[in-house]
Symmetry: C2
Subunit: 168 residues, 2 copies
């Protein structure tokens, strides 16, 4: 991998994130319940973006059922504390991923139009370009989302020569 290669999978903090989240939740005056901790561990363990339903389903399958409402309420809490990042890639439901409130491990996303796969990636050049762009607009910019859509390696294979053209 050369220095111009975008870094794949920015490897989230996992356990580190879970502890941070529990600490921040407590600090914000919230209680530590079993269902909540279960959800936190599930989110922290996954590197991919999850929907509320996926979280609820996987926890049920794991023998630790948590009500869907609780999942949504927990995600809302975490989003307010900037501990999860909500991502709307256009599917039916919103997706969530762990985030560091300070912005470390920040990254962008590739979305496959064919299979729906979501792949995170980091790119310092792009990141700088975004910051510069943010200075040129008249909004006071805080966050940003960048989504590149196309075909993932697996799906691109099957339709290699169609070359629908990369429109801007």
């Amino acid at each position: 991998m050369t220095s111009t290669e975008a870094t794949r999978v920015p490897s989230p903090p996992a356990d580190e994130w879970v502890e941070l989240a529990e600490r921040e939740l407590r600090r914000a005056g919230h209680r530590a319940s079993v269902p909540r901790s279960t959800i936190l561990r599930m989110i922290g363990a996954q590197e991919c973006v999850l929907t509320a339903r996926e979280i609820a389903d996987e926890l049920r399958a794991a023998g630790k059922p948590v009500g869907v409402a609780t999942v949504y309420r927990t995600l809302e809490l975490l989003e307010d504390l900037r501990l999860v990042q909500r991502l709307d890639v256009g599917g039916d439901s919103a997706r969530y991923e762990p985030a560091m409130p300070g912005g470390e491990h920040h990254h962008h996303h590739l979305v496959c139009d064919a299979c729906g796969r979501v792949t995170p990636f980091q790119d310092p050049h792009l990141e700088r370009a975004i910051h510069r762009a943010a200075e040129r607009v008249d909004y006071r910019v805080g966050d940003h989302d960048v989504i590149l859509r196309g075909s993932c390696p697996d799906c691109a294979e099957g339709s290699s020569r169609k070359a629908r053209g990369a429109r801007s």
Copy 2:
């Protein structure tokens, strides 16, 4: 405005777009119906991004009521033909805006966290950075969405010194 200033409101093609859309729809084997043309004109006339509900409501208010289902079906058609761009900014419903299939007039969006306003902007520098980034990943990238979130000029005014900090 200096050369480093991002261009505000990329002024969409309006009538030009409506004609293009009708032509392309016909070319794709679809019929020209009254409700459909009405929707096309509504979309083409707006420079801001609209939700399906907004389109239906405004048309009803204008005395040209069109069923919501028809609005959705028309938007789906247009999206497939790349004549509208769907935008998920995180609200309850998806937003749509006219687009040129070739990518002309392509732009990005500023979203106000406070009032929900969506402002389009163009930025050639950012655009180039995105294209370069797209070459560094292993997806075959076609489209992209860039959303900068923060406070619009009006909303920023009221909370000027809070400076919650631009996290990356």
